[in-house]
Symmetry: C2
Subunit: 278 residues, 2 copies
Amino acid sequence: MNNHAAVRPVFFVSDRTGITAENLGHALLTQFNAIKFEHHSLPFIDSEEKAREAARTINRVAETSENQPLVFSTLIDDVHRRIIASTHAHIIDFFDAFIKPLEEELHTPSSRAEGLLHGISNEVVYMSRMDAINFALKNDDGASTREYKHADVILIGVSRSGKTPTCLYLAMQFGLCAANYPLTESDLEKGFLPEALQPYRDKLFGLVINAERLRMIREMRRKNSEYSSLAQCQKETRLIRSLFEQEKIHNIDSSQISVEEIATSIIQLMKINRPPIY
Amino acid sequence: MNNHAAVRPVFFVSDRTGITAENLGHALLTQFNAIKFEHHSLPFIDSEEKAREAARTINRVAETSENQPLVFSTLIDDVHRRIIASTHAHIIDFFDAFIKPLEEELHTPSSRAEGLLHGISNEVVYMSRMDAINFALKNDDGASTREYKHADVILIGVSRSGKTPTCLYLAMQFGLCAANYPLTESDLEKGFLPEALQPYRDKLFGLVINAERLRMIREMRRKNSEYSSLAQCQKETRLIRSLFEQEKIHNIDSSQISVEEIATSIIQLMKINRPPIY
């Protein structure tokens, strides 16, 4: 018995970043939470030499582990795939599983071209994502409202409700231009939208959060301050909920969901016509 | 004949964000670049009612399209999957294809739990990603060097070589704390590393870029300026290459690759022990 006894090694093998392989692999492995997996990434396997090196790495782990390794592969090149298939591992080959059935269904041979995802094969789409990141940074935290006419969405919410990470994710993943504007206590006490936001009512999307979680997040930033006190968090979260209700602003509770989920919900609720992911 | 004649409708159906379904679906579809696909996302299909609504949407498109729709699904619930399977579409079911073989290989039933990826099922991992985003924002563009001791990596390069988007991606996707420091012409002319960076030599990673591409990117920011002139871009890119060589700084050319590829390469070349993607 060695110390790998309870652990199952998992490899993610790809000719490019491996991010797709790893994402889907994890989605599958999270369905087996009784098993402990040990993750290894092998990206950029784009030559025979690298495929052989990867195979040696997998076999070395296979020899010292009680459990046969799992290999999730998005390799496309047939020679490289055969090299990986010859290892002492259980292979889960995404392209093998789907490309052949798709070729039949689409009555077209596939191009077998490597690394078309997560590259910059489409320069225009790529540059629009980079521009969107710059837009999010320039229009973060109410820093400027001059470019709001170019925004796809303007997030509003109290400090630390998740606006900035959501804007950056909308930019990075979907190429959307997202600005954000923090509503302060004095904004909220007025009981109506700040003047700077009123012309952009159709682009506004609100984030709400429960007071307990807000307190926890604010405590990490400014410990034992009035800003992070439960009373202050309760006051702001109550006021913002009634503002959103009164002004009929689409909104979502960010307390229990991730930036990926918040971003996807915003696109859905605002019916934003986003480009496909590339 | 209708105007959908040459277009193949594609649906991405998921009980959560659908980002995994869409990423892998695109990786597969980019192998068929002779065909024009029309993308539809159906996220958050987590009830029988929503599954029936999704099935109606798919069937409506199927009726008006010359081509049978493709459906990429990461649904887990058996009832919801059966509803989608009954549509007039060609179904590519990721879980069906892999979960059963994995159950056999792992000798364990899967938990059939929905939405374990891209949620905040693991609070600690999620908060560390959010902290990493804040770290990237606070340590962007040499704004502060006080937290460099906590950085996993410090990117250095000339203005507009891709440092900021790469830092944000490292944070968002991998939860890594990445700072960045711009090397100005006067830094470069000195011919050695700025003093502020010298204690962190092991964490430095350089981005280089070719002069033509740098000129193009800078032109978008400041048109017809000295900053964006070819002569200036040639000078800076030449000086930074020799600095990296002389100081033996790991570096990569960002001209032809995406932030995903830059980030993955940095992790690999710096041997950064990153957590798995969740």
